[in-house]
Structures are given as structure tokens and as C-alpha cells.
């Protein structure tokens, strides 16, 4: 059993890992093809994995609703959102399936109109107007809003943490202050020094440190990759030494 649970996965990782490390150096057509194929496979796998995610999320909220835990009502909204998005998104496909099954359907009136046509009628590409509408008026605003909360967070973070507690903190503070000021269009009026100095910091010390990090990181990632390929690190297989 151990053989199936541990050895085979490690073997798979070893083979795929080793090959795709080497593949980079093999210009032959078949080698490039292998890369292209494998990458498509990963996408497909991710697609399957979505089923797991979907289950986890739905299961959790279903339990909440079932057990009437405080605030279970909110969980209903998850389903509302999910089903609406799915309906608007997949209606085109559903219709195709229908027509394959029961032949062409007249969507000019009645239920058929309500379900398949209507104001959310789907257009070529399978996406319905309703889908785009949902995207423009729920998804997109919500996303942009959450993102824009960063503006507040960055302000409060700056206020809370930019304090010259230690020398390091002071250096960070000064660098931040200079670059911030250099970025303000007004600083150009005070003196050209500020914008150009900000750029200098970005282009020299900033970049130097970044390169250092980058080099270190690349070594770290190479080492990790090797540990994975040679089965030394196997937490992703559920740890075990």
C-alpha cells in the first residue's frame, strides 16, 4: 500500500520534474510539444480541482444554513450569487444541450422566452447580456471597491508604522518620505532635485537590494525544486518522512 500511497507519487514527481528541468535545453520539436501538452494538462487538472473547491464552499454554507448557526441567512446570499452567475453564464450552453436533446426550441414566447431569451438573451460566445450585466454591476464594482480599500489601509499603515523607532525604521521612513514626495507632481515645482532623487533611489539602492533579494530567492526556489524532485520535501503529499 505504501508503494501506491508514497512511492508512485514520488516517482511521478521525480520523472515530471526531472524531464521539465531538462526540457528547457532540448530544442527538438517533440520536446517543445511535451511542454505545451503538459501545460494544457495542468489547466485541465485545475478545472477538475474546482469541483473540490466548489464542494467545500457549498458544503460549509449549507451546514450553516442547516444548523441555523447565527448569521446563517448570509450564507443564502452565497447561493443566490453563485446560482445567478451560473445561470447567466451557462444559459447559452444549456440551450445548446436542450436543442440537441429535444430539437430547436421557439424562444419567442412563454417559458422558453423567459428562460433562454428575455433581456438576458445570450449572444455569440455563449455569454448572455445578463452575464455581462451581472459582471458590470456586481462583480466589477465589488472587486474594484475591495481593491480601493487599500487606499485607506495604506494611509493608516503609514501613520501607524512609519515611526523612527530604530535606525532601520528611520532609514525606511526617510526613503519612503523622499520617494513619496518625489512622486508628487508638485515636488517638481519646489525643486527638480526631489523627483530626480526619487528616481535615483528607485534606480540604484532600491534596485540593488531588489537584485540581491531576487538572486537569493532564485537560489531558494532552485533548492526547493530539487528537494521536491528528489522527494526529500514531501509535505504536499501529506508530509511524512
Amino acid at each position: 500500500m505504501q508503494f501506491f500511497k508514497r512511492t508512485i507519487p514520488i516517482a511521478i514527481a521525480l520523472i515530471t520534474g526531472a524531464w521539465f528541468a531538462v526540457q528547457y535545453y532540448v530544442p527538438a520539436g517533440w520536446s517543445e510539444t511535451s511542454l505545451t501538452k503538459a501545460s494544457t494538462w495542468l489547466k485541465i487538472l485545475a478545472g477538475f480541482a474546482f469541483a473540490l473547491g466548489l464542494y467545500s464552499l457549498c458544503h460549509m454554507h449549507l451546514l450553516r444554513i442547516r444548523r441555523r448557526v447565527p448569521g446563517w441567512g448570509y450564507s443564502l446570499l452565497v447561493y443566490v450569487g453563485l446560482l445567478t452567475a451560473l445561470y447567466f453564464g451557462m444559459i447559452g450552453e444549456v440551450r445548446k444541450v436542450f436543442e440537441i436533446a429535444v430539437g430547436p426550441i421557439d424562444t419567442s414566447k412563454g417559458i422558453a422566452w423567459l428562460v433562454f431569451a428575455g433581456w438576458h438573451a445570450f449572444e455569440p460566445g455563449g455569454e448572455g447580456k445578463g452575464y455581462v450585466w451581472l459582471y458590470d454591476h456586481v462583480y466589477n464594482p465589488a472587486q474594484a471597491t475591495m481593491f480601493s480599500i487599500l487606499a485607506f489601509m495604506i494611509a493608516s499603515a503609514a501613520y501607524r508604522t512609519f515611526r523612527a523607532r530604530t535606525w532601520e525604521a528611520a532609514v525606511l521612513l526617510v526613503a519612503a518620505g523622499l520617494v513619496m514626495f518625489g512622486r508628487v507632481p508638485l515636488s517638481g515645482l519646489v525643486s527638480d532635485f526631489f523627483p530626480s532623487f526619487a528616481d535615483w533611489i528607485m534606480a540604484n539602492p532600491q534596485m540593488a537590494a531588489k537584485r540581491g533579494i531576487l538572486l537569493g530567492v532564485s537560489l531558494g526556489s532552485i533548492a526547493t525544486s530539487l528537494r521536491i524532485i528528489f522527494g526529500i520535501e514531501r509535505a504536499y503529499l501529506g508530509g511524512g518522512d
Binding site: 535545453y25 532540448v26 530544442p27 527538438a28 499603515a157 533579494i213 532552485i222
Partner: protein
């Protein structure tokens, strides 16, 4: 009002002027006294190195009085006797081999005057009839491949055409219009994968190459017809330095791991962020509050995520030991599944399989900002005593860390996404910077083999430092070869 469309008139005028000049200049160029054509000493053709067998290289010696007007013309054919199709035409002063690092990388050879051109039969034959391409004296395989292509069937089914009268008739019929059809025509008809099939035909088939010097009406052949086959190359020599680097780093890491097996106890500098993990867990246990673990957004194929999962394993073992509760929030389904497995096994490993609860590893949301919203919500409602962020983060880093800070949790972050490092550094209590993330699992597990790999990384870093310092020194005093070593060719 009419001024509105002035720009277009100005354009027209400019155009007219341009043409006028062109006409004026052309005769002047032709009036030059005919000088003797350049005569290259030798000319050879061979498979273009470092490629996927789709190109043929022609190389010839430089000649006296090469000039822009005199052009080199390469033609290729599938027959020794032609007909030949022009594949390249360029001024005799250009296409020097030493400049062609695109083909050879650093190995452009010593001869400073030699010329090199890699011609692509495929590109050439797009304009030729298919008959001209593959149906004459080539190996049978190629002929059938062409038939397959014309029948729009994949090559793996070629052999079918060797049977069955009906198919053969269709083949003959298609071959007939192959005499007139061109690749471009087929594509225009919407035939799929024409180029793929053509590639298969070109691979390993003999092509015949001629070189001519042309100036105005005069043209002179150079040497005699050369034969060459385009082959699938097994190694891209342009990437040799990359390969050696991999061997070196790999060797260092693996070697050190081996050594760590024999003498496990090695010095390891303190990493504050990781020392703090136990403290954080302890605090969580006292307060009877959960610990929150968040991966970044990246997929499971991303090394930082893999590192994060390794950390998750170690952290979970401790969580199990402390007998506190952990919530692991995910955004990528694969990462989610892997984390579930990891956590489960970690509990098992710590001898607390009972304590494992599948619902502690949650797939909170499928998309970046709904993930942020959900996780912030969890932070607010469950008030975790400690938040651990490990992996590759994007804009959500500050949102999570700042919300976490407002709930008064101890926050430990680790990421190699240096865009987000500044935010973690400022808002978290402890931050693992870049490489330290990869060291984390080793540091926590104290597994000698993993520690060994850290030593390996250090050797790598030492090497890099040496290269940077020595290299700069050498290049400053004018010795350039070091910089050549680290050139990246593709």
C-alpha cells in the same frame, strides 16, 4: 471649418514629395560603373544547430569588395536539379556569422568575414506548390505525409492510406491539385495544422542549396549545389551556461544534503519570524482563539506556494501538539486540496488524527478580492490570536495584514513576492523576506537533509558574490570574457 481635414491634405503632400524624391534618386543609383562581383572562396550548407529541425544553414567565406549593391542570394530545392526557390536575398555586406549570436550563441567561430544565413524551407515553400515541396524524389514517408496532409488527416493515421482503393483514389485526386495548390491556399481553405504537417515533411528530408552573387542583371553562382537536412537537435548549446549553472547549484545543494546526512548538527542563524511561530501558537492556546493560515494566491505549480505548503505541514504539527485550532484559508482549488491532505497527514503524524477536521481547511473564495473580503470577515468574527501568511501575495497582502493588525493578532508573514514585502515588513510583527520563506520548512522541521540544502544555497550565494565582485573587477580592467559567460541566449 474646412481647416478640420487639413491634416489629411498635409499627409497627401508629404507622400507626393516622398515619391518625387524616390524617382529622382533611382537613376542616379543605376548610373554606377559595373565593378567585378565579389567571389566568396567557399560555400557549405548544413543543419542549423540548436533548433527544432526546421532550418538549414548556409555558410560561405567573405569576399573582397563586398558592397551594398551586390546581393547574396540563396535558393533551395528538394531536387538536386531544381527547380530552385529563392529563400534569402541580402546585401553582401550583411549577415556576418560573428554577428549571428541568435543562431550560435557565443560559438560563432573565429572567421570574422564568414557569412551565415539560416533559411526556413517552410517559409520559402509557402509560396510554392505542394508538388514542388514534397512529392518528388523524397523518401516515401514524406510523400505519404503530404498525402495525409492533403487528405486533412493527422500523420498518426498515415499508414491507413497505404490500404484501400478508395483512399488511394482520393489521394491521387488530391495529389493532382497539389500540382497547383500552395500552402497559403490550403490555409485559406481553413485546413488545420498545415504548418505542423509541413514541419514533419521538412524534418530530415534532403534539401539542395545554391548560393549566387547578384548585382543588377548580373548573377554568378558560388561553388556547387550543397545538400543538407534539417534535424531535430538534442541540445541547445546556446544554453550551455544555464545548464552548467543548474548542475553547479544542483550539485551544491544535493552534495550538502548528502553531507548533512552524515553530520546532522550544523550552525543555522536565528530567523526571528520562525522563532515567533511557537510564541504565537502558545498565545493562541492561552487565549483559546484560533490560528489563521493563509497561502498566497498562486497555484500549486508555483514554488513559493509549494514552500508555503511545506511550512503549513510543520505549523500544523505544532498546532496539533499545542492542541489549539487552526483555520487554513485557500483561494486556489488545487492548493486547497493539497493543504487538506497536508493538514490531515500532519495531525496523523502528530498522533492526533481525532483533532483533524476537514472543515478547518476552507476554500473561502475563488477570486482575489472576494477572498480578501471573506478572510477579513473571518478575522473580524473569529478574532484569531495569530495570523500566518506564507506564499506569493499580491495586492491583498496589505488588506489582510492591516485588518489583522486591527484585531490585535500576532502576525507572521513570509513571501518572496518583493512587491508586497514592504507592506508585510511594516504591518506584520515578523516577516520572512524572500529566501527565508524557502528556508522556513527546513528551519522548523530541523530535518538535517533540509538543513543541508540551506548550506547548499549558501554555497550558491557565495559563488554569485564571487562572480559579481571578480567579474566587475575584471571587466573594469578590460577583461570581457566573464560577462560573456553569463550572457543569456534563447
Amino acid at each position: 471649418m474646412r481647416g478640420l481635414s487639413s491634416h489629411s491634405r498635409a499627409l497627401g503632400f508629404g507622400l507626393g514629395l516622398g515619391l518625387g524624391l524616390g524617382l529622382a534618386l533611382a537613376p542616379a543609383a543605376r548610373a554606377a560603373e559595373p565593378a567585378p562581383l565579389p567571389k566568396p572562396g567557399w560555400f557549405k550548407a548544413f543543419d542549423t544547430p540548436n533548433d527544432a529541425g526546421q532550418k538549414i544553414s548556409a555558410e560561405w567565406a567573405g569576399a573582397e569588395d563586398e558592397r551594398v549593391e551586390a546581393k547574396y542570394v540563396l535558393s533551395i530545392s528538394t531536387r538536386k536539379t531544381g527547380p530552385f526557390a529563392e529563400a534569402f536575398r541580402g546585401p553582401s555586406t550583411t549577415s556576418l556569422k560573428v554577428e549571428d549570436t541568435a543562431t550560435f550563441g557565443p560559438w560563432t567561430g573565429g572567421d570574422a568575414k564568414a557569412h551565415h544565413v539560416a533559411v526556413s524551407p517552410l517559409a520559402t515553400y509557402r509560396t510554392q506548390t505542394l508538388a514542388a515541396l514534397a512529392l518528388d524524389d523524397g523518401p516515401k514517408a514524406n510523400a505519404t505525409a503530404t498525402v495525409a496532409m492533403l487528405l486533412r488527416l493527422p500523420k498518426r493515421l498515415q499508414w491507413l492510406h497505404l490500404f484501400g482503393k478508395e483512399t488511394l483514389d482520393r489521394a491521387r485526386r488530391t495529389l493532382a491539385d497539389a500540382k497547383v495548390k500552395r500552402v497559403a491556399d490550403l490555409e485559406a481553405e481553413g485546413v488545420q495544422d498545415v504548418e505542423k504537417d509541413l514541419a514533419a515533411i521538412i524534418l530530415d528530408r534532403p534539401f539542395y542549396v545554391t548560393l549566387e552573387v547578384v548585382e543588377g542583371e548580373r548573377r554568378e553562382p558560388v561553388g556547387d549545389v550543397q545538400e543538407a537536412r534539417a534535424r531535430d537537435n538534442a541540445f541547445n548549446w546556446k544554453k550551455l551556461n544555464n545548464f552548467l549553472a543548474m548542475l553547479f547549484f544542483g550539485g551544491a545543494v544535493l552534495g550538502m544534503i548528502r553531507r548533512a546526512r552524515s553530520n546532522p548538527d550544523m550552525y543555522l542563524r536565528r530567523i526571528g519570524g520562525l522563532e515567533a511561530v511557537d510564541e504565537a501558537l502558545g498565545r493562541a492556546t492561552e487565549m483559546g482563539k484560533p490560528v489563521l493560515f493563509a497561502h498566497g494566491l498562486e497555484t500549486m505549480a508555483n514554488i513559493s506556494t509549494i514552500a508555503a505548503v511545506n511550512v503549513l505541514g510543520e505549523v500544523t504539527k505544532r498546532v496539533a501538539k499545542f492542541d489549539t485550532k487552526m483555520i487554513c484559508v485557500n483561494n486556489d482549488p488545487v492548493v486547497f486540496a493539497v493543504s487538506q491532505e497536508t493538514v490531515k497527514e500532519a495531525y496523523l503524524h502528530a498522533g492526533r488524527p481525532d483533532a483533524y477536521n476537514a472543515d478547518d481547511v476552507i476554500f473561502v473564495a475563488a477570486e482575489q478580492f472576494s477572498y480578501v473580503a471573506a478572510v477579513s470577515g473571518i478575522m473580524m468574527r473569529q478574532q484569531p490570536a495569530a495570523n500566518i501568511y506564507m506564499g506569493y501575495f499580491y495586492a491583498e497582502s496589505l488588506l489582510l495584514a492591516e485588518t489583522g493588525a486591527s484585531t490585535g493578532a500576532i502576525q507572521i508573514a513570509g513571501t518572496d513576492s518583493y512587491t508586497q514585502l514592504p507592506f508585510f515588513i511594516t504591518t506584520c510583527d515578523y516577516t520572512l523576506m524572500g529566501e527565508e520563506l524557502y528556508a522556513a520548512s527546513a528551519y522548523l522541521s530541523r530535518n538535517p537533509m533540509l538543513l543541508g540544502s540551506l548550506k547548499g544555497q549558501d554555497i550558491g550565494k557565495a559563488a554569485l558574490m564571487a562572480i559579481v565582485l571578480v567579474g566587475t573587477l575584471l571587466s573594469t580592467v578590460g577583461i570581457e570574457w566573464v560577462t560573456k559567460l553569463i550572457e543569456v541566449y534563447t
